[in-house]
């Protein structure tokens, strides 16, 4: 339990991406998010995803990136399986093959693949932003463009409390195990959760007192210990990361021929292999995950 850390944090490094101002990275992540929702075209999403992977290589964050992808992996698999039997798509649907009550639809495969591509795009760019940026830098630059300090602070504190609560949970768990509690199962929820939550609430109360004692919320302009400057290359990156998604988005919105949902046809064998391997993959992953958790 103690060794499991949340992978959503900065990977220390000194790559180009690490040295870049947080704003262009944030702009790019939001831009790609908007773009991914604007199109269903798997080819375009795939290209954007591939560019994202290149950035992952530049940022040297492959290890941390893959850890998050591993956590999200079952979601990717279920997306394909569920979408192909119940597409989030306007009817009519073209059936490919049926297994008893379930039918795999042509549109479903398309919908599943494109949604997967969307999610991959969004998570990749969001992770590039998060894993190459020091949280304080991010919040400092957000503050510079006018985000209220209190809101900023809430976000920072939440991020900082997570690892503390995690370690508290480990202590509580060992305290209750010392009283003979079984480490898993329904009976373990109350004895281990109550102390963690009560402790978290007490901690927050103390935090607010100590914050007020240190003049939190006083009027006037705040200064920051960390200074984030915008240099020429940051401006260039900002322009690029704004222009690239905006152009792409306008293109996919205006050019209707990029909607391949009716024209792209998956051969039946390929579809069946895809869906069944995803389903099997999910089951295998699920079994591994459950046995890992029950090991405690």
């Amino acid at each position: 339990m103690q060794g499991v850390a949340i992978p959503i944090s900065m990977v220390p490094g000194n790559s180009v991406l690490h040295r870049l101002n947080p704003l262009p990275k944030l702009a790019l992540a939001i831009g790609v998010l908007i773009f991914s929702f604007a199109t269903r075209n798997p080819a375009l999403l795939g290209i954007v995803f591939a560019i994202g992977l290149m950035l992952v290589t530049i940022g040297k964050i492959w290890k941390a990136y893959l850890r998050v992808v591993m956590i999200l992996f079952p979601i990717y698999l279920t997306l394909i399986v569920l979408q192909s039997i119940a597409p989030a798509f306007p009817r009519p649907w073209t059936p490919i093959v049926g297994f008893g009550p379930f039918t795999i639809y042509q549109e479903g495969i398309y919908s599943g693949v494109s949604m997967l591509a969307r999610i991959l795009c969004m998570t990749t760019y969001a992770l590039i932003m998060i894993q190459t940026t020091h949280p304080s830098d991010l919040f400092t630059s957000l503050q510079k463009i006018g985000m209220p300090y209190v809101l900023n602070f809430i976000l920072t504190v939440t991020l900082q409390l997570l690892p503390i609560i995690q370690s508290e949970f480990a202590i509580v768990l060992s305290a209750q195990k010392s009283r003979g509690m079984k480490g898993t199962g329904f009976g373990a929820i109350l004895p281990s959760m109550v102390p963690v939550f009560v402790g978290a609430i007490e901690r927050v109360q103390q935090l607010s007192i100590s914050l007020e004692a240190r003049a939190f919320g006083s009027s006037g302009r705040k200064t920051s210990f960390r200074d984030v400057s915008m240099r020429v290359k940051d401006y260039i990156a900002l322009v690029l990361s704004l222009v690239f998604p905006i152009l792409l988005t306008t293109w996919v919105v205006l050019d209707k021929s990029l909607d391949w949902s009716r024209s792209m046809v998956f051969p039946p064998t390929l579809s069946i292999i895809l869906v069944s391997s995803c389903a099997i993959g999910f089951v295998v992953y699920f079994i591994i995950a459950v046995s890992y958790v029950l090991r405690v």
């Binding site: 305290a175 195990k177 010392s178 004895p191």
Partner: protein, 285 residues
């Protein structure tokens, strides 16, 4: 038991994260009905050592044998009926709605019958004098009482060994005295008590054997009198003995021969010296 209740043989512990060597080659034997103190600076390995006694940590190499069984093959839950661990902060383990329910949690985990659970609960309430609080929510109690509830919740498991992590920290004088008394009573009832503590008065007056830890090593294992008299040891571990002991150590060269651990002892020693070497008239002034 001839081989001791708890035995560590060449115990090493290296934390997986960070590769910190927390224990280096610890060898010791703990007999039944001992009151043991474990001292050392923060980070010297005290807590790591005692966490091996109830299986919360497993040796990286070497062995820990509790009641004749190697802990490496036992789960914490299985060892909990033999070795009870009272955590420093009672808030980490109190969760039930009433003190009574809290005390029943341990024995229920041991799968005891209802009558036995209630019997043990009542025994614990009596032993720790918790009768006025039995229907209250543990979080409504004052910190010292909460700490007693924490100890009582382990007492209901009736383990042969009690591990108390900082039993007197953050408590007022009265409850500290109550805790000392309880520790002594536990021993009278046949339990073994291991205290991890920085409370020098507890160590001097209650404990009968002290383990001194420094930099992951066990550097001394002796009676409080021997430990506190060893000035070099005290200095190297940054431990200050109780003031009364310090006073008697400074007077040792000139007047007193004995190292005193408590005020009571000091009074007796001074009275002996004065009545022996001087006429009684000095008291009449």
């Amino acid at each position: 038991m001839a081989n001791g209740l708890i035995r560590c043989e060449n115990l090493w512990h290296i934390y997986k994260t960070g590769k910190v060597v927390a224990l280096q080659d610890i060898n010791l034997t703990i007999q039944a009905q001992e009151i043991l103190g474990v001292i050392g600076q923060n980070g010297s390995g005290k807590t790591t050592l005692v966490k091996h006694f109830n299986g919360l940590l497993k040796p990286t190499s070497g062995r820990v044998i509790v009641g004749g069984v190697d802990t490496a093959r036992k789960k914490v839950q299985e060892l909990s009926s033999q070795v009870g661990y009272v955590f420093q902060n009672p808030n980490h383990q109190l969760f039930a709605r009433t003190v009574e329910e809290e005390l029943e949690f341990g024995p229920r985990n041991l799968k005891l019958s209802d009558e036995e659970v209630i019997e043990r609960r009542e025994k614990a309430i009596e032993f720790f004098n918790l009768n006025p609080y039995r229907k209250l929510h543990p979080y409504r109690l004052s910190f010292p009482v909460r700490k007693l509830v924490g100890m009582a919740s382990i007492y209901t498991m009736q383990p042969a060994v009690f591990i108390l992590d900082e039993p007197t920290t953050g408590q007022d004088h009265v409850t500290t005295r109550i805790v000392y008394r309880l520790i002594e009573r536990l021993r009278e009832d046949g339990f073994t008590v291991i205290c991890v503590s920085h409370d020098m008065i507890l160590l001097a007056e209650v404990v009968d054997r002290i383990l001194v830890m420094r930099n992951a090593r066990l550097i001394a294992d002796a009676t409080p009198r021997e430990v506190f008299a060893d000035l070099q040891l005290m200095h190297s571990t940054h431990i200050t003995p109780p003031q009364i002991t310090e006073l008697s150590l400074r007077l040792r060269e000139s007047t007193l021969q004995k190292v005193c651990l408590s005020v009571k002892e000091m009074v007796e020693t001074i009275q002996d010296v004065m009545s022996g070497s001087r006429p009684t008239q000095s008291f009449n002034n």
